[in-house]
Amino acid sequence: MALNTWLPLIVVATSLFAALGIFLLREERHTLRSAFNLSAAAIKLGLVIWMAIGVLDQVRYETRYTLIDGVSFILRADPLGIMFAGLSSVLWLFTTIYAIGYLENAPNRSRFFGFFSLCVASTVGIALAGNLFTFFLFYELLTLSTYPLVVHRGTAKSLRAGKIYLAYTLGGGAVLLLGVAALHTLVGDVEFSAGAGLRVLDPALHPMLVVIFVMLIMGLGVKAALLPLHGWLPTAMVAPAPVSALLHAVAVVKAGAFGIVRVVYDVFGIEFAWQLGLLAPLAVLASATILYGSLRALAQTDLKRRLAYSTVSQVSYIVLGTALFGPVGTVGGLVHLLHQGLMKITLFFCAGNYAETLGVHRIDELDGAGRRMPATSVAFTLGAFGMIGVPPLAGFVTKWYLGIGALQAGMEWVVAVLVLSSVLNAAYFLPVLHRIWFRPQRAPWPDEHFHAHRDTHPWLLLPTLATAAMSLAAGVLAGMPFSPLYWAEVVVHQSYLP
């Protein structure tokens, strides 16, 4: 059926056209732009859901186009891709609503929303990429479309953050290009098909493959904020709240982690990676990042920077999951891809609400926020407890699967890392909760708005509560079909374990 071949392209194209449309709109056409934005987000979500259903009963969606002979542009909807695409399209819908509310009368909104939809187009492109080349293509497009968002405010600080962001991501992109090109010379067009291609190479090339693996991981590690390459994430927190919410909690950071998942599972194949002995060092690196991120978060005084460092540590759970040899560890890693997205975007929304409604940026200004903004604070509490891994919430599901997976893979020390990081998470989230709920308001709010509304502007509150509810449901109703856990299991059983 022709539609199957064009659907992935249409999904990516919806937000591309939305971006172009918005760019052409003049600055003062607000309603039309919001309508454009929201309809594009809705259409994309609908299409992704349709594809998700299709993928469940083995329908094959694939767009293939040869760029130059030997290199083709493939968009394919496989379970893993659909999972990430689903996440980003759902969260894009909410973040668009949030952004419209957040940038009520800010300048340069056409530019903002244009690049915003461009960025999501590249994220979905990364999700649906069928081979390493297409993945790299959208990976770099993501860098380009996120830079203008990071420097949107135009202040000296945001421009400096933008410069650091660029240095890291373009450097990473260059190393990734090297890895992809080297792999290409060895194996030709590397399609994501559970690493069939690499196993057959003769053993003489194995050291070369290890070098390539290191290059790929370094390139992807920049966006996945692995230890030495995470410097850009905290500085990029100067961006407006919706940007730091969608991008640095979901799109950019997840693209890196998703890339590592693709490389380990679809390019090298988990057995071959295990045979080459690549998984153990990756697990060590991920664990180091987990602990380092939590420790640094402990010392931060600015709320968004603390959340940023927490993102640094949380994303490495996904990497840790991929590094665990065995289905349970993989499921843990993949399900955290969704859980962390839901939880972290809720936290960033709340941080944005606090900043926008009360003008609060530092943690010690948060005293008594619970009384003034109960709904946002409840959402924040849910997100925080989810992050700590308190059982009914989503975080626990991930930690449980990762723990069991680690034990089955014979890496007992990973359990210690998981538990230690939960303690550290508690150490930097609980004081914030304590201030919000149990401390009286010491000083008048620095810059209070939305007095009329009970909590904050409905456009800001609605997405926050929605994502909070979804993260709660992802945890509590983990057993339900179509829950993140269910989908992660489908991915593992359908594509990686015959």
């Binding site: 340069n108 203008p148 090297l178």
Partner: protein
């Protein structure tokens, strides 16, 4: 049309256009200039059609075949360049025309059009010619026209730049002429086709190649000899500098590639090829660094040309003495880089021209807040920048990808480092400009606004730069017809 369109039309039409616009009084020159464009397009498309239908075309001028007379050779490479020239020229012409219309008929624009058409004629004569002395005359024609275009504004900097450019051009073509003399003495014939067989591989041919190479890299402004390019391209009018950077600089490289492939393989030694590669690497690094340090917008773009030319010279080490696969990849990569650079650089120069016009000052620092008033030009500047940086999905990226593959296949991994670092450096200076445009500087609400056509021309070129990346397959297969690397591969 069963019988193929004779090739000389590609030269006659622009020459005729030049002479006509030279004769016609000033008021009509712009309209006449634009009128000749569709004819030019028709001829180009017809010849391209013939290439597809009948393959490589040869036209013996004056009825005299190769050794005695001059022949025009239209293989994939030549016609690819002709098509590129037509595309870039038409958009620059549209830009110049709308600029002239908007500014009213002041003096210096008057003789712009004859010179522009002479430029096209010179370019087409170089792409098509298969005779080394005829290439010399084409080079001279091109050199003088380019010098004239640079000096057009009559200001002190323009005249100094033009003088420096002219001296460099003269020295370059004189060395080339010396090379022609030696080759004629050694081989007895001026035809490019059979040069390899008759010129032998003695000292004469080697000295001739060295002289010609030096003459041509001086005219292409390769790294140590690049000093004349930035003032010339930075100071000229926007459409002029676009044409200079996109096409004129490439003509001498084109001749060098033709020579390098025509001569006997062991005349073009690996040492010479690596020397050229090293100079190219130097160009990429030095050009990138200097572009990053510039404070004037057009000078930044000019130095970016110096840098990007470096990439093209990686062709020589990747072709001499390597496997056919690596050679084929290098051929595709270099030509795609040439095309996408031409499109992107022309687009960037036009966009830069629009921005300078809108801001009223050449400095990058004054760009703050431009994104609210001239978003389209800034967008096309960014788009062209993406192609120069070699980020997907642009043509620059696909070309860089092919060169990377070729370098890895041929085992010369050090060019990979040059490609990667060059990409980062170009990212540095492109984002330097974009960064300034994001600064929410002092409230500057008064920007003069160039007409829409100028912005659309810049956008069209930048978009073509990206498009060539996506649709890289067709131009590459065309360019392989009649190339030493054969079809496919």
């Amino acid at each position: 049309m069963s019988v193929a369109l004779p090739l000389p039309w590609l030269i006659v039409v622009p020459l005729g256009g030049a002479m006509a616009s030279f004769l016609v009084p000033e008021r009509w020159r712009v309209r006449l200039g634009l009128a000749v464009l569709p004819v030019m397009w028709l001829v180009t498309l017809a010849v391209l059609g013939d290439l597809a239908a009948h393959g490589v075309q040869v036209h013996a001028l004056g009825g005299w075949s190769a050794p005695l007379g001059i022949t025009l050779l239209a293989d994939g490479l030549a016609l690819g360049m002709v098509a590129l020239t037509t595309l870039v020229f038409s958009l620059c012409a549209v830009h110049a025309a709308s600029h002239a219309a908007e500014k009213g008929h002041n003096g210096e624009i008057g003789f712009l059009w004859p010179l522009l058409w002479f430029l096209v004629a010179a370019l087409n004569s170089i792409w098509l010619s298969a005779d080394i002395f005829n290439l010399y005359v084409g080079l001279e024609l091109l050199g003088l026209t380019a010098v004239g275009l640079v000096a057009l504004t009559g200001s002190a900097e323009a005249l100094a730049a033009a003088m420096r450019y002219l001296l460099a051009a003269l020295l370059g073509s004189l060395c080339y002429l010396l090379g022609v003399a030696l080759l004629y003495a050694a081989g007895g014939s001026l035809a490019l086709g059979d040069l390899g067989t008759i010129a032998g591989s003695g000292a004469t041919a080697r000295v001739a190649l060295a002289l010609m190479t030096l003459g041509l890299i001086l005219k292409t402004a390769l790294f140590p000899l690049h000093a004349w390019l930035p003032p010339a391209h930075g100071g000229a009018l926007a459409p002029v500098s676009a044409l200079l950077s996109a096409l004129v600089v490439k003509a001498s490289l084109y001749i060098l590639i033709r020579l390098w492939l025509a001569l006997d393989p062991d005349v073009a030694t690996a040492a010479a090829a690596n020397l050229l590669g090293a100079l190219g690497a130097g160009a990429v690094l030095w050009g990138g660094w200097m572009a990053w340090r510039q404070t004037k917008l057009k000078y930044l773009v000019a130095y970016s040309t110096v840098a990007q030319i470096g990439y093209l010279f990686l062709f020589f080490p990747l072709v001499t003495g390597t496997s056919t696969i690596a050679g084929g990849l290098a051929w595709d990569g270099t030509l795609l880089m040439l095309i996408s650079h031409a499109l992107a650089k022309a687009g960037m120069f036009l966009a830069a021209g629009n921005l300078v016009l809108a801001m009223g000052s050449p400095l990058i620092a004054d760009l703050s807040g431009i994104s609210r008033f001239r978003p389209l030009s800034l967008f096309s500047f960014g788009l062209a920048g993406v192609s120069l940086m070699g980020l997907p999905p642009s043509g620059g990226f696909t070309a860089k990808w092919l060169l990377l593959q070729s370098a890895l296949h041929s085992g010369q991994w050090w060019w990979v480092v040059v490609l990667i670092v060059g990409g980062l450096l170009s990212a540095a200076y492109v984002f330097k400009v974009l960064r300034h445009s994001f600064v929410e500087g002092p409230k500057r609400d008064h920007f003069n606004s160039p007409p829409m056509a100028m912005e659309l021309a810049a956008l069209a070129l930048a978009a073509a730069g990206m498009g060539v990346g996506l649709a890289a397959q067709s131009p590459l297969t065309w360019m392989r017809i009649g190339s030493p690397f054969g079809v496919g591969g």
